[in-house]
Amino acid sequence: MMRRSMRIVNGCISGFYAARPALIAASLATLMMACGGAAVPPQELLDARSAYAEAAKGPAADLAPAQLDTAKQSLQVAQQNFDEDGPNQKTKDLAYVAQRRAQIAAAEGGREKAERKRAAADKDLRNTQTQGLENYAKTKEALAAEKAARVEAERKAAVAMASLAEIAKVKEESRGVVITLSGSVLFATGKSDLLPIAKEKLNQVAKALTDQGFKAIVVQGYTDSVGSASDNDALSLRRAQSVRDYLVTRGVPSEKATAEGKGASNPVADNKTPDGRAENRRVEIVVTPEK
C-alpha cells in the first residue's frame, strides 16, 4: 500500500516538472494533503496510549506485570488497526478496550500494593500485640515482685518491733512510734556515759530501726524533777545525744537522727515517789515511719 502511494506521488511530481517552481510548491502541498499525509489518531487511541503510559509508571509494572502486558498487546492491536485502516470505528473500539485494559492493570497494581501494605500492617499488629502481652507480663511480674518485697518488709518490721518490745516500751502515738528506754538501764546517776548493758540494748534498737526503715528519729532525753531545771535540761540533752551518737555508730544514718533535751517536762509518772521518778528518767526515741 505504501509503495503504491509512493508511486502515485512520484507520478504526480514528475508531471509537474515542466511547470513553474511557485506552482510546483503550492501544488505539492495540496497533493500531500490529498494523498493522505499522516492520518490523525482518534481520541480513543490517544487515551489508550496515555492510560498505558500511566499504568506502566505505577505499581502495576512490578505488581501486575501480566495485566500490564495484556494492556500492551491490546494497545498494539489498536495501533496496528489504525496503521492499516486508519481511524475507523474498529480502531476506536479496539483503543477503547485497550484503554480499559491499561486502567485494569493500574487498578490491579494498586490492589496488590494495598494488599501488601495490609499484610505488613497485620504482621505489625501481631508483633505489637505480642510485645504488648510481653509488656503486660513484665508489669505483672514487677508488681508481684514489688508486693513480695512489701510483704517481706512488713514481716521484718513486725519482727523488729516484737524484738524491741522485749527490751523497751513501744507505743504508737500520733507523733510516731515511741520507744521508751528506762534511764536507770542506760546511765549511772548524773552521768551521760552509756553503761555496757545499755549498749547491748541500743544495739537491738539500732538493728530494729535499720531493719524496719524510717524517715527520721528524734532521741528525747527526760529527767525527774529533782535538781535545777537548767541542770536537768543540760543533762537530758547530753544523754539524748550520747544515745543518738551511739545509734549512729550502729548504722542509723546520722542525717536522719537528731537529739533533744526535754528536762523534767512531760512526766509519765508521779515525781513524788521513787518509782515514779525512776519512770520519768527516761530516753524516748520517736520514730517517724517511712511513707
Partner: protein, 119 residues
C-alpha cells in the same frame, strides 16, 4: 477429496458467508451481562469510580441490544466487547478500593494499639 469437490466447497462456503450475514452475538451479550453482575456483587456500586464503569457497561449493553434489534450484529459485538472491558474495570477498581480501605484500617489499628501500649 478431489480438486473439483474442493472448489465446490469453497464456492458454496463463500456464498453462505456472503448471504448469511453476521451472527447475533448471544455469547458476548450474556458474558457482558454476567460480568456486570459480577462487578456489582464485587461491590462496584459502593465506589464512585467503579460505579461509573458499571454504568458505562450497562449503557453499552443497552446500545448493543438495540444494534442487535436493528440487525447490526457486527457493531453489537464490538459494543459488547467494550461493555465487558468496562465491567472488568469496574470490578478491578472495586477490589482496589476495598484493598486500600482494608490497608488503611489495618494501619490505623496498629497505630491505636501502639498508642495504647505506649501509655
Amino acid at each position: 477429496m478431489n480438486v473439483r469437490t474442493w472448489v465446490y466447497w469453497c464456492i458454496s462456503g463463500t456464498m453462505l458467508l456472503a448471504c448469511g450475514g453476521y451472527p447475533v452475538p448471544h455469547d458476548q451479550l450474556s458474558a457482558a451481562q454476567a460480568e456486570v453482575k459480577g462487578a456489582e456483587v464485587g461491590g462496584a456500586n459502593e465506589n464512585p469510580k467503579a460505579a461509573l464503569h458499571v454504568k458505562l457497561a450497562k449503557d453499552q449493553i443497552a446500545i448493543a441490544e438495540k444494534q442487535i434489534a436493528d440487525g447490526d450484529n457486527e457493531e453489537a459485538e464490538r459494543t459488547l466487547v467494550r461493555a465487558q472491558a468496562d465491567a472488568d474495570l469496574a470490578l478491578a477498581l472495586a477490589k482496589e478500593a476495598k484493598a486500600q480501605n482494608d490497608a488503611a484500617e489495618a494501619s490505623e489499628q496498629v497505630g491505636k494499639l501502639r498508642k495504647e501500649i505506649g501509655k
